[in-house]
Structure formats: structure tokens, C-alpha cells
Amino acid sequence: MTDATNVAGHHDEGWHLAHHFETPAQQFESGKLGIWLFLTTEILLFSGLFCAYAVYRANHPEIFAYAHLYLSKSLGALNTVVLIFSSFTMAAAVRAAQLGQTRWQVRLLALTLVCGFAFLGVKSVEYQAKWKEGLLAGRAYQPAAPPHGAVVPEPPQRAESATGAAGGQPESAGGMKLDKSTIAPAAVGRPGLSEKWLQGKAAHPDGHWVGPEPNNVQLFFGIYFAMTGLHGVHVLAGMAAIAWVLVRARRGEFGPKYFSPVDFTGLYWHLVDLVWIFLFPLLYLIH
């Protein structure tokens, strides 16, 4: 095993065999199985949201076809590229750790961290835009204007105070207790894309949406914020883990004999990337 030169002149210093394990191999394999189990739980956590997405989109595709136009495809694509690149730098950092190359480990981990910041930066730009344009979930959905690429005949009727539902009754001055006896069905007519919509689309090929705003568009934003928000929290947690690993890497703790923290953090980061790779087309690229 060659000793690669590094900053402090030593490596593998972070490693020791825990008292309850018989061999180093047992320790490493246990850690690996452990992190894969944890990743399984993360997949199941997100699967609930993907399920909610699937149910609502299957029942009301018009909401998704309309509302996704509010999202910026280019910003989403930028974020996708950033995350994929960061996965590459992370994998390279793991490789550097395996080879005991402390300087490269530190650089690549720092680069991954920078990508994480970039991702969160773009996300906050998007969120700010949503806030400004009133594109929030539930009761707070008060869009300033229809989205680009939508041809909406007349602006939708909205009561002077915040109501989210179609045909919403005016809210009482106390701000509470709307008359729930008039809960409207979630969309006008049968769920799905109507004949009229298809005709309108044929007539206006450049307009991605032709027709009145569907009911309950706020549902899309509920799902959007829940999914991207939860993902953002995981990106943040991943960045914290990478920062901690970075500190340890600078101290020269990782090398050929011991690199599992880098390896496991890398696995987690890849999962975070993978979730985004599903989120992006499902939210941004709806046809």
C-alpha cells in the first residue's frame, strides 16, 4: 500500500476497531448495510409524497398541466445540472479518500458543498418568486397573473379576501368559518383534459394552456412545496454531513484503511440527487 503524500503527512488516523466487532471487515460491512437501510427509509419517506402526487395528477391532470407553467424550467434544469455535477464531485471525493489523497478529498468535498449552496440559492430564488406572485398553497394561493404560455380568457373571479376554493363564499370578518355546505367539487366538469381544452390547444399551438383557470390549482402548489421543501431539508442535512466529513478529511483521518464516513455520506448525497432527478420532470416537465 503506497502512502500518498498529503497535507499533514498522515492518513487513516480516524480509524479504530470498535470493541464489539471481531474484524475490520465486519465493522465496515455493518456500516454499509446500515446506511443502505437508512436510505431505504428515506426512499419510503418520499414515496408518500410521490403517491399523493400520483393520486392527484391521475384525478385532475388539468391542475398539473396548468400550474406547472408557473415554474421556471430553466432554473429547474440548472439545479438538476448542479446536483448531478455535485454527485460526480462527491464520488470523486470518495475515490480520493480511498487513495488517501487528502488534498483532493478536501477540494472535492468543498466543491460538492459549493454545489449544494448553489442549489439552495437557486431554490430560494424560485421560492421568493412564488411568494411575490402569490403562488402559495391552500388558502394563500392568490396568483397575480396567469402563467406564461397560458391563454386564459378572463381573469378568474376571486372574493376580495383570501379564499382558495372555487365558488368560494366570502369570508366572514372574523376570518374564520366559511360556509362549508357549499364545498364545490374539485374541478369543473369531468376530471381530466376536456374536449374544449384540446380544441383550444389546437387553435393556439403556442399557448400551453387555453381555457379558464381550473379549480383548486392550489393543490399543485401544496404538493410542490411539500416535495421540494422536504427535498431541500435533506439537501441541507447532506451539506451538514459533508461539512463535518470535510473537517475530518482536513485532519487526514481518511485513507485506504478507513474511508467509510466519506463513502456513506456520498451514498446519502447520491440519493438526494436521485430524488431530485425524479422531482424535476414530475413537477417541471409536465406535457
Binding site: 464489539h20 448495510l33 383548486n216 401544496g222
Partner: protein, 565 residues
């Protein structure tokens, strides 16, 4: 060496004894920061018993209220007076399920026994284990805080839209349950990795004790199902904080979606509760019949079958709730199938007793009670799984009786059995077996007096979660309340003689019951590092060479060479 260690004062004695995990280090810091799975198990045990007491007090208050049709404690025309009752049944359910039954056997008994049964020094991730415990404590504190702020009144099922609208402290309680979910997930991760990677040489999968199969199947459910509860509770919190609208029909959401998400976890959760109990059952039956478990492979694989099939039946909680007919049919059919592996276990346990050598000491008495009570609990599940009868019995006291029979009669009785079985190992003391059997009988009678009348109430139409009721149901309710206090008396008796044994109990031998698994080869209590030398692994449940030694006061392994047959 250092001075002879003395027994900690809280164990009542100052007599010198061998160093064990309890004496190894003194001081509160050595407990708070311990990485020893045995100490973590003991801490879990204490916390779970405290939670059990709290949940039990809520239950007794509920039963007192129901002594009169118009309500004994809460009555009157002002409807808000019933809110307290609604809070009581919500908290009784939430505390018992999240703080007692789900962590119960894995946390308090599994943590202690699993590494010992494997001949290992600890679980795979001792620090994660301690985290599990502290997350449990944090979740419990959040639940308590919610009680003080404005106790939740939604039922432990938190159905929307009511749970999104009620002005009680839903968020702290639900967030507490979210944290408890992580405690459960981490325990599951620990157990899976330990069983996969830390089995000793010679212990292949099919030479493992059956408790480990059960804990393994439980751990699979813990890591697969609990995250779905996590996202459900998170969405409920977002619904309340930001009116996210996912479950609120007023904003286009679907209240039924919440129910699907909720029960996707909560049905497998009941298997988290019963599978470890069934594992304990296997151990106790084997030891007290001095026999190998009949059909070992079938019993082992049935645990996995229950875990797998259990993921596909959640809709049976929702038959009248607005699901479509085809969906109802599928869930009913699958629910019928999940009954089969449990039945297989019961037949195999009975066959184990056939031509066994049965000793009716306290743990075995609880196992006998399990046969009786779990049979009733499981068979009444058939009424609820069948589509025709479910529409009559759903949300009546029939359901309440059914799940108490399986959860108390199944899980809690085996929790208590396990506690008695491993008590000598954990504490180094024997308890009074005659009192143990008496308490078992009292608990058994009290339990049936409490819950059997509830079946009859339910079939006559008494709905659940009712603070007041029609007068014709009163005799059943009175019987039920009497039974509740009988159970309380039995539990007080159990607590009494167990605590007494800590101070005055006879010292336990390494193997007082004649158990054949590895935890009985180390001293009672075990030393800090479990096995100074790695133990010899034998075929599971081989009792032939375990012979009673009067001087030791326990069983001893006789070497093979002495065998004359």
C-alpha cells in the same frame, strides 16, 4: 485489581458480588451516556413501564366515566364537557401505541437479550442505540407537553378534516410521534445489521433462536413502514400550519388519502407489536416444555410471511369509509390470508407441547393465557375481515374488544411473560413464583371480564369513542369497568413482588429455567462485556443436555462425553 465492587444501593444490598453490567460503573453519568445495550434496555424498560402506568390511568378514567349512560365524570348539556373524555381516549391510544406497544418488546427486552442470544458483545451500532432511547424520551416529552398545552381530542388516528381543524395541541403530539418513529427506525436498523453481520460462527440463519427471527421480521417492518407514518404526520403538521390543502376537501384535497397513508403504516405497526411477542412465545414454550420448537422452519418463515403480507391489508380499516367496492374486495381477501401464518404458529406451539415436559412456572402461565386470548383476538379478526359483517361491526366496541384481545392478550401478556422469563438474567434475582402465577390468573380473569362484554356490546350496536350511551348498554359497561380495576390490582401485585425481589429475592443462577439459548450461559446478571470468552454455539432448543443442579439452583450444561445413551 480495584476494590471488590459492591451492589448498587438501589438494588438493596451491600454484599460483595461479581462484577456485572450493573456494578461495572457507578454514577448517573455512567447510565446517561452508556453504550451498553443491557443498560439501554433497562432504561427503556423503566420508561415504558411509566408510560404504561400513564396510559392505564387514562383507561381507568374512561371506564369510570362509562359506568353511567349519561356519564359519571363528564355529563351535562354543554357539549364542551365531553371534550375531556375525547382527550382521554385519544391519549390512552396514543400513549399505549406509540410509547408502550411499539417500542415495548424490542426496546425493553430485545435490546437486552438480542446480543446475548447471539453471543455478541453488543448491537452493531451502540451509539445509535442510545440515540434511539433518547429520541424515545424526546418524543415522550413532546407528547406530555401536548397534554399540558391542550390535550388532543382527535382519536389516536388523527383523521382529517377534524384533526386539521380542532384547536387542541395536535402539532406537539404529532411531532412527538414523528420523533418516536425515528426511535423505532433506528432500533430496526440496529437489529437488522446485528442479525446479519454479528451472528457467531456456526449460527446460520436456521440455527438462530426464533426470537431473533421475530425481531428481524419486526425490524423489516419498522424500517419500511415507519417512514410512511413520518411523511403522513409531517403533512398533517403542514396542513395545520400552512393549510397546505392536501387533505382538506375545502381546498380540493382528499380526506380519504390521509386514511390510506395513515393505515399504510398503522396496520404493519400492529405486526410490529405482535411479532416480537410471538418470538417470546417461542422461547418460553420451548424452555418450559423442554422441547425443540416443532416445525422450526415454518415458525421462522411465518414471521417473515406475516411481515410481508401485513403490508398489503391496510384498507380493511376503511371498508365503510368511501373506498370503492373492488378495493374493498381485494383488501378483504388479502386480510384473510394474513391470518394463516399466525394460525401456523399456534399449531406449531401446541405441537411443541405434545410429548414435552411441561413446567407451569410464571412465564409459561402467561403463554397459556396467550393461547386463549390470542385465539379469541385472532378469530374475531375474521368477523372484521369479512365484508358483510364489517359494515355492522366497524367502529363499534367489537373492534375495541378485538384489538385489546390481540394487543393486551397477545403483546402485553407476552411482554410480561418475557419480563418474568428474563428477570433473573437482568437483575440476578428470582421473584416469588407462586405470586407470579396468582397475578397471572388475576390479570387473565380481569382482562376477560373487561373485554369480553365489549364484544357483546359491539354486536348490539354500541359505537366506540362515545362519552355517553343509550341506557340498555349499561350492564356491559359496568362489568367492563369492574374488570378494569381487577387488571389494575393484578398489575399492582406484579409490580409489588418484582420490586420486592430486587431487594429480597433469591440470587439467580445463570440458567434458572433451563433455557437452551446463549443468554443463559453467562452469569445472572451478565458481565459488562457479555461473554469474556466467545460461547460455544449449539443447535437451538437442544434441552437434552441441560440438567438441574440443586446446589446451583439452576440448570447446567452437561458435556456430551458424559452421555451414556
Amino acid at each position: 485489581m480495584t476494590a471488590i465492587p459492591t451492589e448498587p444501593r438501589f438494588l438493596g444490598g451491600l454484599a460483595p458480588r461479581e462484577d456485572n453490567y450493573l456494578t461495572h460503573q457507578a454514577g448517573i453519568g455512567s447510565w446517561v451516556f452508556t453504550l451498553d445495550h443491557k443498560r439501554i434496555g433497562v432504561m427503556y424498560l423503566v420508561a415504558i413501564l411509566v408510560a404504561f402506568l400513564l396510559g392505564g390511568i387514562f383507561a381507568l378514567l374512561i371506564r369510570v366515566q362509562l359506568l353511567r349512560p349519561e356519564g359519571l365524570l363528564f355529563h351535562g348539556s354543554d357539549l364542551s364537557v365531553y371534550k375531556t373524555y375525547n382527550q382521554l381516549f385519544t391519549l390512552h391510544g396514543a400513549v399505549m401505541i406509540f410509547l408502550v406497544l411499539i417500542p415495548g418488546v424490542p426496546g425493553a427486552l430485545g435490546n437486552f437479550v438480542l446480543p446475548l442470544m447471539l453471543g455478541a458483545k453488543d448491537v452493531a451500532f451502540p451509539r445509535l442505540n442510545l440515540w434511539s432511547f433518547y429520541l424515545y424520551v424526546l418524543g415522550a416529552l413532546l407528547a406530555l407537553a401536548s397534554i399540558l398545552i391542550g390535550a388532543v381530542d382527535t382519536g389516536w388516528t388523527f383523521y382529517t378534516p377534524y384533526a386539521a381543524q380542532t384547536n387542541t395541541a395536535v402539532i406537539p403530539l404529532v411531532f412527538g410521534a414523528f420523533i418516536l418513529g425515528f426511535s423505532s427506525i433506528f432500533t430496526g436498523m440496529n437489529f437488522i445489521v446485528t442479525i446479519h453481520k454479528m451472528r457467531p460462527a456456526g449460527m446460520t440463519w436456521f440455527r438462530m433462536p426464533l426470537l431473533l427471527w421475530s425481531l428481524y421480521a419486526t425490524a423489516i417492518i419498522q424500517i419500511m413502514a415507519t417512514p410512511v407514518l413520518g411523511i403522513t404526520l409531517l403533512l398533517l403538521i403542514l396542513e395545520r400550519l400552512f393549510q397546505l390543502g392536501i387533505f382538506d376537501p375545502y381546498f380540493g384535497g382528499d380526506p380519504l388519502l390521509f386514511q390510506h397513508f395513515f393505515w399504510f403504516y398503522s396496520h404493519p405497526a400492529v405486526y410490529i407489536m405482535i411479532l416480537p411477542a410471538m418470538g417470546v412465545m417461542s422461547e418460553v414454550i420451548a424452555t418450559f416444555s423442554r422441547r425443540e420448537i416443532f416445525g422450526y422452519r415454518f415458525v421462522a418463515l411465518s414471521s417473515i410471511a406475516i411481515a410481508v403480507i401485513g403490508f398489503f391489508v391496510w384498507g380493511h380499516h376503511m371498508f365503510p369509509n368511501g373506498q370503492s367496492g373492488p378495493l374493498n374486495t381485494i383488501f378483504s381477501g388479502l386480510t384473510m390470508l394474513v391470518a394463516l401464518p399466525s394460525a401456523v404458529k399456534v399449531w406449531n406451539w401446541l405441537a411443541t407441547m405434545y410429548k414435552g415436559s411441561i413446567s407451569l412456572q410464571t412465564p409459561m402461565c402467561y403463554s397459556l393465557a396467550f393461547f386463549f386470548l390470542f385465539a379469541i383476538g385472532g378469530l374475531t379478526g375474521l368477523f372484521l375481515a369479512s365484508l358483510s359483517t364489517n359494515f355492522h361491526l366497524h367502529d363499534t366496541y367489537f373492534v375495541v374488544a378485538h384489538f385489546h384481545y390481540v394487543m393486551i392478550g397477545g403483546t402485553m401478556f407476552m411482554f410480561i411473560a418475557g419480563l418474568h422469563y428474563w428477570w433473573p438474567k437482568m437483575t440476578g434475582r428470582m421473584f416469588n413464583d407462586a405470586l407470579g402465577r396468582l397475578a397471572c390468573l388475576l390479570l387473565f380473569v380481569g382482562f376477560n371480564v373487561t373485554f369480553f362484554p365489549q364484544f357483546l356490546m359491539g354486536t348490539h350496536g354500541m359505537p366506540r369513542r362515545y362519552a355517553v350511551y343509550k341506557p340498555e348498554f349499561q350492564p356491559y359497561h359496568v362489568l367492563s369497568t369492574i374488570g378494569g380495576f381487577l387488571q389494575f390490582a393484578a398489575l399492582v401485585l406484579i409490580a409489588g413482588y418484582l420490586v420486592h425481589s430486587l431487594y429480597r429475592g433469591r440470587r439467580a443462577a445463570a440458567n434458572p429455567w433451563g433455557g437452551s439459548t446463549l443468554e443463559w450461559t453467562c452469569s445472572s446478571p451478565p458481565p459488562h462485556d457479555n461473554f469474556p470468552t466467545p460461547p460455544v454455539v449449539r443447535a437451538p432448543y437442544d434441552h437434552k443436555h441441560l440438567l438441574w443442579n440443586e446446589t446451583l439452583g439452576g440448570y447446567e450444561w452437561q458435556p456430551v462425553e458424559n452421555e451414556t445413551r
